[in-house]
Symmetry: C2
Subunit: 149 residues, 2 copies
C-alpha cells in the first residue's frame, strides 16, 4: 500500500509536511462514508495504531478546509461536521438525514437565481451555502420496508 491517498498528495503539493499525524487524519477521513465530526476522526485515529491529539485533529481539519479537500457543513441538529470532497469545482452536498452518507452535486444552475436576488436586493453576493437534507435511496428503502412491517 503506497499512498494513492489524494489527501496526502494534495498536502504535499501545498508544500506541507507529511507527518504521521496527518497521515492518520487523512486515513481516518478517507474511510468515512459520509460526513464526520472532528470527534469521529479522533476516535478513528485512536482505533488505529497511531492516536492523534485532539488539538492536532482540529488543526489538520482546518488545514484541509483551507486546501478545499474537506468542507464544513452544519447539520440541522446544529452540530458541526465535515465532508471530504473534490477540490476546485463549486458544488454542494446532499446529506442523508438517516445514515449521514453524502454525495456531491454540481453547480446546478443556481447562478441565475443569485443574479435575480442581487438585482432585487442590491446585495453583492459573494458566497452562498446550500445544504440539502433528505433520505438516500438505501434509507428510503429501509424506511419503506419498516413501515410495511
Amino acid at each position: 500500500m503506497q499512498q494513492p491517498n489524494p489527501v496526502l498528495s494534495a498536502l504535499g503539493d501545498a508544500g506541507k509536511r507529511l507527518t504521521i499525524a496527518r497521515r492518520a487524519v487523512a486515513e481516518a477521513i478517507t474511510e468515512q462514508a459520509g460526513h464526520f465530526t472532528a470527534e469521529d476522526v479522533l476516535a478513528a485515529s485512536r482505533l488505529r495504531r497511531r492516536a492523534v491529539a485532539r488539538a492536532t485533529v482540529f488543526r489538520s481539519l482546518d488545514l484541509l478546509v483551507d486546501l478545499g479537500l474537506v468542507e464544513r457543513v452544519d447539520l440541522p441538529s446544529g452540530d458541526h461536521a465535515y465532508v471530504a470532497c473534490e477540490p476546485d469545482a463549486h458544488h454542494h452536498h446532499v446529506v442523508c438525514s438517516a445514515c449521514g452518507r453524502s454525495v456531491e452535486v454540481g453547480e446546478l444552475g443556481l447562478r441565475p437565481i443569485l443574479e435575480r436576488i442581487e438585482s432585487s436586493t442590491g446585495f453583492a453576493i459573494d458566497s452562498h451555502r446550500l445544504e440539502l437534507f433528505g433520505l438516500c435511496p438505501e434509507c428510503r428503502a429501509t424506511a419503506a420496508s419498516k413501515r410495511s412491517a
Copy 2:
C-alpha cells in the same frame, strides 16, 4: 407605546404566557438590525432595566424558532446566529458579511433545481438550507469610497 410588537402578539396567539422575560427578549430582538447571537440578546437585556438569565434567553429563542418568528443561520465563521423573520412563507436570508444586516428573499424558483437533484441522486430531499452572504448596498458604497481614498 402599547405593543405593536409582532413577536409578542404571536406569542399570545400561540397560547404562551407574556412574561417579563419574554418581553425583554422580544424587544432585544426587534431592535437588532440584522442577525444576532444569543449572546447579543443577553447583552441587550442587561443594558435594559430587566436582565434575563442565560438559560431563559435560550429557551425563548428556541420557542421563537418553533413559532417560526426567528430563524437560525450559521455564519461562514461557524458561529450560530439568529435572524428575525416573517413566519409562514418559505424563504431564505441574505446576510451582509460586513454589517450583519439581513433581508429575506422569497422562494425564488429553487423547486425545479431540487427536483433535478432528487432525480439524479435518488435522494428524497425533505429540507434544505440556502444562506447567502455578501455586501449590502450601504456597505458596498462604504467599501467603494474607502477604496478610492
